[in-house]
Amino acid sequence: MNIVEAFLISFQAIWSNKLRSILTMLGLIIGISSVVTIVSLGNATQITIEEELSSLGVNSVYIYYEKSAIIKPSEKFVFNDMSYIEENFIESVLFVTPNISRPGEIISDISDAGLIFNASTTDTDESEDLTLIDGRFLNDFDISGYKKNIVIDSDIAVELFDDTKISGNKILVKTGNVSNSYNIVGVYQKEETIGGFSSAVAYLPYTTMDMIYKLNGQMDGIKITFNSTVEDPDLEKERIITAIERRKNNLGEEKYSTFSAEDLIETVSTTLGMITLFISAIAAISLIVGGIGVMNIMLVSVTERTREIGIRKALGAQYSDIMIQFLIEAVTISIIGGFIGSIFGGVFTSIGGKLMDINAVVSADSLILAIIFSTSIGIFFGIYPANKAAKLDPIEALRHE
């Protein structure tokens, strides 16, 4: 008996028990669709996060104080360090910008808003990849003159003024108990972020920040943006740390640590990968349950069709003929289930993608995997019932009622 013949027989058997076959497939449909959905959404989230993180600049590195280290005042980062690094690593370093963020409030005539103030140089717009949509960014005069000038994001602008073209307006900036009037010199486009939530950030000259927050010329950290021609940012980073340590007289004491977007991407990817794997494993359990359903229905089918098996054997069917017939029936049920499950998986993926606001498509890999998986389930859980059918004694089977 050839395979085509066996498929025809199995389609007939499945078709004549439509409801039962569909109910049996249900387990597999649920299992396959959830695995496909989870894997696809997991991959899409990972890609989206990686893209978002690389927009932070893979080419940049933050230098911080090592958490556990005791930092003497002479070991703190100071504003001078920025020009020191820029001058000594002129080949590799594009910008050095301060890393200082402080909470504050903006008050306008209409409304007020809590937000984060970032200390900026004239390069911060570029190192943070900001897109100005109105006015200008902070300039050298703002820095050297301790100007009370501010650049805010488009969302805050709309919140406070119902408009983004608002440079030139004045607002009240409240830090602690002190309020001062500031000029809005520019507005930048607020970027969409994953999950849609991120705090508002406004940029002030670092000199002004130093004054109002009494920073004593010290910084929380330094952000270094490398030239895109730098081949090994890691090596360059080490060289800069060494130079800073020399400057602070604590060479080799490891009081500074670094952090780059690359590190973050790696951490996030690994974590997400593990979460996806874990949820997939749980979904895979439903596949096993689905497989057991297939086995159960095949056992029922073998019992019900014992007489048919007897007739086929009486007419000359071999062990292998009956084995193939029932195995193919199990595989056909599983593949149809896997196919329907994949379709649902695709639908759930696109719905999930819309809800999560990420670009999620079902990958060919996960579809191929789903088909291979369901075929294997069909074979694995079909072998026992098929063997049971195939080794029936012809006369015993014929006597069966």
């Binding site: 008996m1 013949e5 048919e308 086929r312 054997k313 009486a314 007419l315 000359g316 071999q318």
Partner: protein, 226 residues
């Protein structure tokens, strides 16, 4: 072409065992038309199942066309059932979800006959049994006599050496039964070897040789006087 020697069959074991055949000997040559008669429980079906390679004898020899059947493997027995034997059951044993022609094709599927060839041969043999206008009917849409004709067509289609029929008219009214018997007569006239089990003497008298069974033993073996 067919010889049984000291054939015995015991069902079960120990105290509840039943000795259905107690040592049977006979030979049937090609082209014979034989009926097996005897009261219910005399071992007729048991013998037929062994002759049909559906069951194995407990003891003794069964030689079909020089093949010692009792030594064959399950796989080889399937081939013998497929190619050498056409079995007709009292209860037809058609697959209920398949049309007449599909039922007839079944034995050819296991013989590896191609699709077109199967269709052609099935149609020919259905025509031969007088069912050319019932080929696409399912068993539920056929009368008892018609069902048995489909079963006979199925038994014939691989051109077996021998036709074995276990009470083929047992479930039929006398008119249909007559039709089936006429069909067997024609087949034998064309040279087919046929063995029919029956417990009706009228049917047995139609054949050419009667084997009379009683209590697991062959008690008489006689030619029918014409």
């Amino acid at each position: 072409m067919l010889t049984v020697k000291n054939l015995k069959k015991v069902y079960g074991s120990g105290e509840i065992s039943v000795q259905a055949l107690k040592g049977i000997n006979f030979t049937i040559t090609e082209g014979e038309y034989v009926s097996i008669i005897g009261p219910s429980g005399s071992g007729k079906s048991t013998l037929m199942n062994i002759l049909g390679c559906l069951d194995k004898a407990s003891e003794g020899e069964y030689i079909l066309e020089n093949h010692p059947i009792q030594t064959l493997s399950a796989k080889e027995l399937a081939v013998v059932r497929n190619k050498k034997i056409g079995f007709v059951f009292q209860s037809y044993n058609l697959l209920p979800k398949m049309t007449a022609i599909r039922n007839v094709e079944l034995s050819m599927i296991y013989a590896g006959v191609s699709r077109e060839e199967r269709k052609k041969r099935a149609m020919d043999v259905l025509k031969k049994v007088g069912l050319e206008d019932r080929m696409n009917h399912k068993p539920t849409e056929l009368s008892g006599g018609q069902k048995q004709r489909v079963a006979i067509a199925r038994a014939l289609v691989n051109n077996p050496s021998i036709i074995l029929a276990d009470e083929p008219t047992g479930n039929l009214d006398s008119e249909s039964a007559q039709g089936i018997l006429k069909l067997f007569n024609e087949l034998n006239a064309e040279g087919k070897t046929i063995i029919i089990v029956t417990h009706e003497n009228e049917i047995a008298r139609v054949t050419k040789r009667i084997l009379n069974f009683r209590d697991g033993l062959l008690v008489s073996d006689q030619e029918v006087a014409k």
